[in-house]
């Protein structure tokens, strides 16, 4: 037994298992179709909302670009977002109309682009009551990324909410805030938001620690 107060408190805590890159073959484990493997009974993938889900049906698309301007074609992304009413649906259930969690890859539906089929999230309040603008939390995993990078996707057509969002405003540089704003496109009756993630250098996307 440990004598109370005999150790610095940090020493009484376990260390987190260390992270390692998900590597180039991450798809075998987390995106079977992209690896060329047959699907299992249920897979976690990029359709967060069915047509029955409340809210505006949208697609989120984008590329991941490295410091040389080259496409990162082996990235895996995870999305986490609220439903149209601003509530997280934590119980993952493929029978439900909406799930807050999904996965995609940069080769998912067209070369070098990732895609989520979802609905536009509602606003979520922080504990202090301040409303955050509608957003999607994204985690990026890839070969050459030693621990996942966290960012947030915001929506261009939510200018008022974006201007008041305490998290966007935590980014000191107004120019860098722009790296978090997805651009709205409409084609063939579909609403799509485009969000490129720049890992390094000019226009580098803001990444968060939390």
């Amino acid at each position: 037994m440990q004598q109370p107060n005999s150790q610095p408190s940090a020493a009484l805590m376990l260390r987190e298992t260390a992270s390692q890159t998900a590597g180039p073959y991450v798809h075998i484990g987390l995106a079977l179709d992209i690896a060329g493997l047959p699907p299992r009974e249920e897979e976690i993938w990029n359709r967060l909302a069915s047509p029955q889900a409340d809210g505006e049906a949208i697609e989120l698309v984008g590329r991941v670009i490295d410091g040389n301007g080259d496409l990162v074609r082996d990235a895996l992304l995870e999305a986490w977002q609220a439903d149209a009413h601003g509530n997280y649906q934590c119980e993952f259930d493929l029978q439900a109309a909406f799930n807050s969690f999904g996965r995609t890859a940069t080769t998912a539906e067209s070369d070098g682009e990732w895609c989520f089929h979802t609905i536009k999230p509602g606003q979520v309040a922080r504990r202090d009551g301040r409303l955050m603008a509608p957003h999607v939390t994204l985690a990026v995993f890839a070969r050459g990324i030693n621990i996942q990078l966290h960012t947030r996707l915001y929506f261009e057509d939510e200018a008022e909410a974006n201007a008041a969002c305490p998290v966007l405003n935590a980014v000191e540089s107004p120019a860098r805030r722009q790296t978090l704003i997805a651009k709205r496109e409409e084609s063939e009756g579909k609403v799509r938001y485009r969000f490129d993630i720049r890992l390094q250098g000019e226009g580098e996307t803001v990444f968060f620690d939390f």
Partner: protein, 246 residues
């Protein structure tokens, strides 16, 4: 997961994890952010909650890589080639509290060091009876378990002659997206571990120990398979006792 935003997680120690820029692992050079991360001082439910996969429907052999991929061709159908092993462990948080019903996923190369992936063109052959993917939920006390074959080491283009030690990629969700972690399990005693540029992205030798699966003879099965124990530690959950936070 109740949507409780009154909790906090122990801050992730970014000096313990590998840094984004680790030039010995060359691919990190162009894929590492150069700007500082923006720290969220007031995490919200967007960071504190996470998906619960209790209702994800899984197949009976999803955690058994000896049985979950079979050759299409009857004449070839059988068990995969390689050393039969059980890989098991407990998911706990930094305070030692078990993490029940959390999704643990893994993937790996076959016994020859070849991945069943469109993009892997290594010389070693595919095994018609081995896919290389597994998943399960930890049980009520945080335990998880897979049955598989020990993967082989393989060469990769980093330095002129770089080899990956035998490893299994392991992914764990934990109670929140803040606890989400992907790591690799290495096999105790592998002489390639200290030579690996990806292992070397870690600065602290003790951090490498946290990624080492340990031979556990007590859990091995005579005339059948060896066992390796690999516990996973995710960020600890703190309760906040004071209401002075905004």
């Amino acid at each position: 997961m109740p949507l409780n935003d009154n909790k906090r997680f122990v801050e992730r120690d970014r000096n313990w994890h590998p840094p984004a820029y680790a030039p010995g692992y060359k691919t990190t050079v162009a894929r590492s952010p150069s700007q500082a991360y923006v720290s969220l001082q007031t995490p919200s439910v967007s960071e504190l909650a996470g998906p619960d996969f209790t209702r994800l429907r899984m197949g009976p052999h999803d955690n058994d890589l000896l049985l979950n991929f079979r050759a299409d061709n009857e004449a070839q159908a059988g068990l995969p080639i390689g050393e039969r092993v059980i890989v098991f462990g407990r998911v706990v948080d930094q305070f030692g509290k078990p993490v029940p019903n959390t999704l643990v996923e893994m993937w790996q190369a076959n016994a020859g060091g070849r991945y069943r992936h469109k993009k892997d063109g290594y010389l070693a052959p595919l095994d018609p009876n081995f896919g290389g993917v597994g998943r399960c939920l930890s049980d009520d006390e945080g335990w998880y378990r897979f049955r598989t074959i020990k993967p082989g080491p393989y060469p990769w283009p980093n330095n002129i002659n770089s080899w990956r030690p035998a490893h299994i990629h392991v992914s764990v969700m934990g109670p929140s997206i803040s606890t989400r972690l992907i790591t690799q399990m290495y096999f105790e005693g592998d002489p390639l571990i200290p030579l690996c540029p990806i292992v070397h992205t870690l600065r602290d030798p003790e951090a490498v120990e946290t990624m080492t699966g340990r031979l556990d003879m007590a859990r091995s099965r005579s005339m059948d398979c060896l066992a390796y124990r690999f516990d996973l530690v995710v960020r600890g959950e703190l309760q906040t006792y004071f209401e002075n936070q905004g």
